[in-house]
Amino acid sequence: MAKKDLIDLSYYPGCSLKTTARENNASLIYLFEHLGYNLIELEDWNCCGSSSAHSVDTELAFDLASRNLSLAPLDRPLLVACPSCLLRLRSAYLHLEEDQRARRHYEKMWAKPFDPKLQIMHFFEFLSQIDLLAYSRDRIRRLEGLRFVPYYGCMLARPPIMRHEKNYFGLMEKILANLGAKPEKWSFSSRCCGTFLTVARPEVVEPMVNEIIQGAINARADCIVTACAMCHMNLEVRCSLKDKVPILHFSEIISLALGIGKSEYKGWFSRHLVDPKPLLKALDLF
């Protein structure tokens, strides 16, 4: 299904983007098409194992992640949308690269050799190499007047299992400022959202999320921009403050800034629990 004049990339959406955060998925695919890339969903992908597999069974976590690696065509990079999936997939890759026993296990499981040529990248890495203003319709800085705080959550950090590779803190500020928005300073950009404790220990997560949202309010931000679909959901569902702040996926706000996808917006923003439409209308973005 190669589209004309577009460069093909393999694409791993992950379970959240495929279901609960479908607006994140749609806006990302849309954005990449505008940038000249065709995201081809990885054929028959499975869950990366999420937080649960490595919590209780390291071997299963490795197998679940490496099945996805075995499915990826080698002639194009594998783009990953979810920071948590990226962590699982890339740590499996690094383990394979360094451990001969793991490679033998992989070959036995998937009946093919592991090829370290496979490039696995988060979409942030991709965007960091592009001047997005060049893609803005009429080169307008549409986000002029918007104050935001960036929320990276914890998964874009590079812990020991990621060999402390380069991380992308600061990228959202750089890109969105270039498109006219004003990043505000705050202390919560890499605070964990609580992930699965939102189910098992909601009373622990609620005050944490409230602290984060209150931080955004205190910074006088109009909205929070998230890097991760899981964070997006937790920040929306666990906030019990009277004052709320709209929370936008990074892929959504870039599409808005570039002036693309006007007919698509409705399907994205109707899925938000905190309605961002009044804010976007006030800025003439919607």
Binding site: T19, D44, S55, L64, F196, V237
Partner: protein, 192 residues
């Protein structure tokens, strides 16, 4: 003047019964050199969940160093840890504390000790069952299985309804096709 009675206060750990092989076992399983920890407590200071834990992360590491097997494996901290890696990024010695917690959790399960946070284990199992059935996680099913086991249908209804109204909880799962291949990964596992 009478000398003070030589009793051990309850909050002081008893070092009379320690397991000298424990630290080695955890090191082998986690691949992490536990003895690099010098207890600066950066991890404890940075952990966003430390208030919900019985022991802060470095104290669990101390227990491992001292061979306090039962205390470490039965601590709630190892289950509360979500693996956000805030601690391991702040650790001056690059100790992968989340990986240590993975190892301790799995040892706790293998040894059948008291799981301090049964609801969290229940949640992980619900997720893995969903992956085993569909190859992917189905959030609605995970929630229903979790609640079924917890015998709790009514907490969090408001959040569930809000998500449902916004179509964020799908009725049907997204599925992998070669489900037989995925189920094979779960065969002979005790975790799911």
């Amino acid at each position: 003047m009478n000398p003070k009675p030589n009793t051990i206060p309850a909050e002081i750990v008893n070092l009379n019964q320690t397991d000298s092989g424990f630290a080695g076992e955890v090191t082998r399983r986690s691949g992490v050199e536990i003895n690099k920890c010098w207890h600066c407590q950066s991890c404890a200071g940075g952990c966003p969940f430390v208030r919900a834990m019985d022991y802060p992360p470095n104290r669990v590491i101390r227990m491992v160093q001292l061979g306090l097997r039962k205390e470490a494996l039965e601590s709630s901290g190892i289950w509360i840890c979500v693996g956000c890696n805030t601690c391991s990024i702040q650790c001056p010695n690059c100790i992968d504390i989340a990986a240590v917690n993975d190892a301790l959790r799995q040892m706790a399960m293998a040894e059948g000790v008291v799981v301090a946070e049964p609801n969290i284990l229940n949640f992980h199992q619900a997720v893995l069952q969903s992956i085993q059935r569909h190859g992917r996680t189905h959030k609605l099913e995970v929630m229903l299985r979790y609640k079924l086991k917890k015998h709790d249908w009514f907490s969090d209804m408001a959040v569930g309804m809000k998500m449902f109204a916004k179509r964020k909880l799908e009725l049907l799962p997204s599925k992998s096709k070669n489900i037989a291949e995925i189920r094979k990964l779960f065969d002979q596992k005790s975790t799911a």
